[in-house]
C-alpha cells in the first residue's frame, strides 16, 4: 500500500568565502557605438554565468543584455578570477564587473558632462543614454559619448577593477570569526509516496523557496533550483559509489550508478524569496550550490512522515526503507502485551 508523507527542510549557505583570498578582476570596455565588451576569467560551465554577468554589466551601463559581449576563460586575454566555484560568480565576479563597468561609465560621464552642460554627479546612464538625473529629456546617446571619448578625446571608456570579499580570519581555537561575506537561505518541502510492501519511495512534488538576494535572471535561478533538486533526489534515494573489499569501484558506470532520469523527478514549484544584499551586485548573492542542499533532508523527513521510520544513512534505497518498516513492525508486535 502506498503511504503519503510530507517533509520540510531549511538551510543556510555561505556566499563569498573569506577565509582565503577570493578575488575576481574584470575589464569592461564600452565600444564606440555604445555596446560593451566584458573580459572575465571565469568559465561558463552551464550555470549561465556569462548571461548573468552580461546582465550586470548592462544594468550598470544602462544598456541591454544584447548590447554586451562577454569574453571569458582565457588566461592570455582575460583577468584573473578565482573561478566557477562555491556559488561565488554572481556575487564576487559580478561585483568586479559592476565596479569595472562603473569605472568605464565614469569616463563616459567625464565626456558627457560638458556635452550636457552639467556636473558629472548629475548624470545617470539609462536606456542607452546618458541623461541628467530628473531631466531625462536632456540626454545624449551612450554611443555618441563613447565615440567622442575614444575617437575625439582619446580617452577610451575602459574600466578595470577587482573585488575581494572583506576578509576576517577565524580564531583557530574557537572558530569564531567572519568566514563568509554573506549567506543565502532556503526551504524545500517534499511530498512522497512510500510503498510499504517494497519500500519504494516516489517523490511526487517539491516546493522550493530560495533566497539569492536579487535574482539577476529569475529564469536561470529557477533552472539552478530545479537542477539542484535533481541532485538532491539522487542523493536521497539512489546514488552511491560502491567499493569492494579491495577498494575497487563496483559501479563505475551509469547503468549501476543510479542517477535520476526524467521519470524519477517530481513536479517542482520554485519561488524566489525576495531579498537584497547591499554587498552584492544590485543586491544579488548566489544560488548555484544551495539548491542541492535541503532536498535530501526534506525527502527523508517525508519518508518519516509517511511510514514512521527514520533512515539515518543515505541513500534511502527501497531496501533500506523496507528493512526499517519491517523493524518497526517487529518492535510494535513486541510491545503488545501477551
Amino acid at each position: 500500500m502506498k503511504r503519503r508523507g510530507r517533509g520540510i527542510a531549511c538551510m543556510w549557505y555561505p556566499i563569498g568565502f573569506t577565509v582565503d583570498a577570493n578575488a575576481s578582476a574584470a575589464t569592461v570596455k564600452v565600444n564606440e557605438d555604445g555596446t560593451a565588451t566584458v573580459l572575465t576569467g571565469t568559465v561558463e560551465t552551464g550555470q549561465g554565468s556569462l548571461t548573468v554577468l552580461g546582465q550586470i554589466a548592462a544594468e550598470a551601463l544602462g544598456i541591454a543584455t544584447d548590447d554586451v559581449h562577454v569574453v571569458s576563460a582565457d588566461t592570455d586575454t582575460t583577468p584573473m578570477d578565482t573561478g566557477a566555484i562555491a556559488s561565488r560568480t554572481t556575487y564576487v565576479t559580478g561585483n568586479a564587473i559592476w565596479l569595472a563597468a562603473e569605472a568605464a561609465k565614469a569616463i563616459l560621464f567625464e565626456t558627457a558632462a560638458p556635452m550636457l552642460g552639467v556636473k558629472v554627479s548629475q548624470l545617470e546612464a539609462r536606456d542607452r543614454k546618458i541623461q541628467v538625473k530628473s531631466f531625462p529629456q536632456r540626454n545624449v546617446s551612450i554611443g555618441e559619448v563613447a565615440h567622442r571619448s575614444q575617437v575625439v578625446l582619446g580617452q577610451p571608456a575602459i574600466g578595470s577593477a577587482s573585488w575581494n570579499p572583506p576578509t576576517v580570519a577565524m580564531d583557530p581555537e574557537t572558530g569564531q570569526g567572519k568566514p563568509f561575506a554573506t549567506y543565502v537561505y532556503a526551504t524545500q518541502i517534499a511530498e512522497v509516496d512510500v510503498d510499504d510492501e517494497t519500500g519504494e519511495v516516489e517523490v511526487l512534488r517539491i516546493a522550493a523557496a530560495h533566497d539569492c538576494g536579487t535574482a539577476i535572471n529569475p529564469m536561470l535561478v529557477e533552472g539552478q533550483v530545479e537542477g539542484g533538486i535533481s541532485m538532491g533526489v539522487g542523493m536521497a534515494l539512489h546514488e552511491e559509489m560502491l567499493f569492494d573489499a579491495n577498494g575497487r569501484h563496483i559501479n563505475p558506470n551509469l547503468t549501476n550508478y543510479i542517477m535520476p532520469t526524467s521519470l524519477d523527478m517530481p513536479e517542482i514549484a520554485v519561488d524566489i524569496v525576495q531579498g537584497f544584499d547591499p554587498t552584492g551586485p544590485f543586491g544579488a548573492k548566489g544560488v548555484g550550490e544551495p539548491t542541492a542542499v535541503p532536498t535530501a533532508a526534506a525527502i527523508l523527513n517525508a519518508i518519516h512522515d509517511a511510514v514512521g521510520v527514520r533512515v539515518t544513512s543515505l541513500p534511502a534505497t527501497a531496501e533500506k526503507v523496507l528493512t526499517a518498516i519491517k523493524a518497526k513492525r517487529a518492535a510494535e508486535v513486541k510491545q503488545i502485551p501477551a
Binding site: 552551464g46 529564469m219 537542477g227 535533481s230 551509469l254 542517477m259 535520476p260 532520469t261 526524467s262 523527478m265
Partner: protein, 171 residues
C-alpha cells in the same frame, strides 16, 4: 575496411571505415557532424541520440555497417537556414538547456516522440526523455519546452492544412 553510404540530413555521404567504427564515430570523425556527443559510450546517457529511419537510437550502440543505406537525421539536420526547428526554439526560449551537452540528444529524442505522437502528455514526455540523462536541469524546463514545442507544431500543422485547403478550393 567497409564502405558505407548513408543519407545524412538529406545528403548522401560515403566513407570507408574499419568495421568496428560506431555510427557516432562515423558522424563525428568522418562527417564532421559533432552535434551528437559521446557521454558514456554504452547507451546509458543518450547524448549521442540521432534518428535512423525515423527511430531515435543511441549512435554509440550502432556500427557504421548497420546503417549502410539508411537514413540518418542528426541535430545538424533540424534547423534550416531560415529558421530554427520549433523544438530548438522552445528549448532556447524556456532555458531548457544549461551546460547543453545533453541537448542535441534530448532534442532528437523529442523529435522522434513528435514523429510518433503530436500531442504527448507529461507522462509520454518523461518517458521519451528518460533515455537522455541530464544533470543540470532536473528535466523541469526541458519538459516545459517539449510541451511548448508540441503546441507550436500542432498549430503550425493546423495552419498549413488550412492553407492547403484554400489552395485546393481556389479557382
Amino acid at each position: 575496411m567497409i564502405d558505407v553510404t548513408i543519407v545524412v540530413n538529406g545528403e548522401t555521404r560515403r566513407a570507408s571505415v574499419p568495421p568496428e567504427t560506431t555510427l557516432l564515430k562515423l558522424l563525428r570523425e568522418n562527417f564532421a557532424l559533432t552535434g551528437a556527443k559521446l557521454g558514456c559510450d554504452v547507451g546509458d546517457c543518450g547524448a549521442c541520440t540521432v534518428i535512423v529511419d525515423g527511430m531515435a537510437v543511441n549512435s554509440c550502440l550502432m556500427l557504421a555497417g548497420q546503417v549502410n543505406g539508411r537514413n540518418v537525421t542528426t541535430i545538424e539536420g533540424l534547423a534550416t537556414r531560415d529558421r530554427l526547428h520549433p523544438i530548438q526554439k522552445a528549448f532556447e526560449d524556456t532555458g531548457a538547456l544549461q551546460c547543453g551537452f545533453c541537448g542535441p540528444g534530448a532534442i532528437m529524442a523529442t523529435k522522434a516522440l513528435f514523429d510518433e505522437n503530436s500531442d504527448p502528455n507529461v507522462k509520454d514526455i518523461r518517458d521519451a526523455l528518460s533515455g537522455s540523462l541530464c544533470r543540470c536541469t532536473g528535466y523541469t524546463k526541458m519538459i516545459e519546452a517539449v510541451q511548448e514545442a508540441a503546441r507550436v507544431l500542432r498549430s503550425e500543422s493546423r495552419n498549413s492544412s488550412h492553407t492547403r485547403e484554400l489552395k485546393v478550393t481556389a479557382p
